[in-house]
Structure formats: C-alpha cells, structure tokens
Symmetry: C2
C-alpha cells in the first residue's frame, strides 16, 4: 500500500519526468533544436542515471521509477538533438 | 557524517541541478529561446517544488538541497525565456 508521501514523490517524479515531453514535441514538430543546449541534456542524463543508482541504494520506488523513465525520455531527446542539429 | 549513499545522492543532484546552467548560458549569449519549450520549464519547476516537499517528508538532505537549488536556477531560466521570447 502506498503512503501519501510515496504518492507525493510519484507525482513530483511524474512532473519532472514528463517535463521533457513538450520539449520533444516541439523539436519533433519544428525540426529545430538550435537554441537548446546539448550539454544540458548530457549532464541531465548523467544525473538522472546516478539518481536511479541512489534510488536503488535507498530502496526508494518513486526515485527509481521516475528517474528510469526520465532516462528513456531524455535519451530520445538527445537523439533528436543529434538528428536535427544544424550542419556547421 | 555523510554516508557514501548521501554523497551519491548529492552528486546525482548536483548533475541534475547544474544541467540547466549550460542552457541558461546559451540563452544569455544568443538571446534566443525560440526552440526551447516554456512548458518544459513550467512543468519541471512544479515537479522540482514537489520534490522539495517530498524531501522534507523523508528528511532526505540530498533531495531537499539539490531540488531547492534547481528551483532557483529554473526560475532564472524561465525569466530569460519570458525576456527573450520572440514577439508574436
């Protein structure tokens, strides 16, 4: 049974996880990523990966699941950034 | 005294927190945010705010401090987005 703090953590995690979806949608539609920083997504993915490991050590389900999903979504965004990057 | 898992959480948090800095730097230098999704930062800030509350309920220092810093940095990025938004 989930406690209300578990639910709070899951809602928090859903927000931070899905936040990249509007960015993916925008990049997908416009095929433009010029103003988006690739370093942002690189560092973010490293961080999210470490959060998953941290969550495992704490046996903290909200941290593991939401950061795992974040990792997948951010990988896709990074792929779009490589794909739509303006040729120099 | 910090345990190694505390340190892991702090490093994870530092990565996800500082990830927005290259984006802020890019927006600041180019004065362009056209390809960046404002919804991304809006939802992200709501999520980060909820993570702070969650961290308080769990008495989890890495979660509280890193998400608190994230909230400040993302607020600044959101300000830049409003400031540099292309007039319609």
């Amino acid at each position: 049974m989930l406690s209300w703090t578990d639910i709070l953590g899951i809602v928090a995690g859903i927000c931070t996880t899905v936040s990249v979806i509007p960015q993916i949608r925008k990049a997908w539609k416009t095929k433009k990523v010029d103003d988006v920083s690739p370093f942002m997504f690189g560092i973010l993915m490293l961080g999210v990966f470490l959060w998953v490991i941290y969550g495992i050590t704490q046996n903290d389900i909200p941290i593991i699941t939401t950061n795992g999903a974040s990792l997948a979504l951010n990988s896709f965004m990074l792929y779009l950034m490589v794909r739509f990057r303006k040729k120099k």
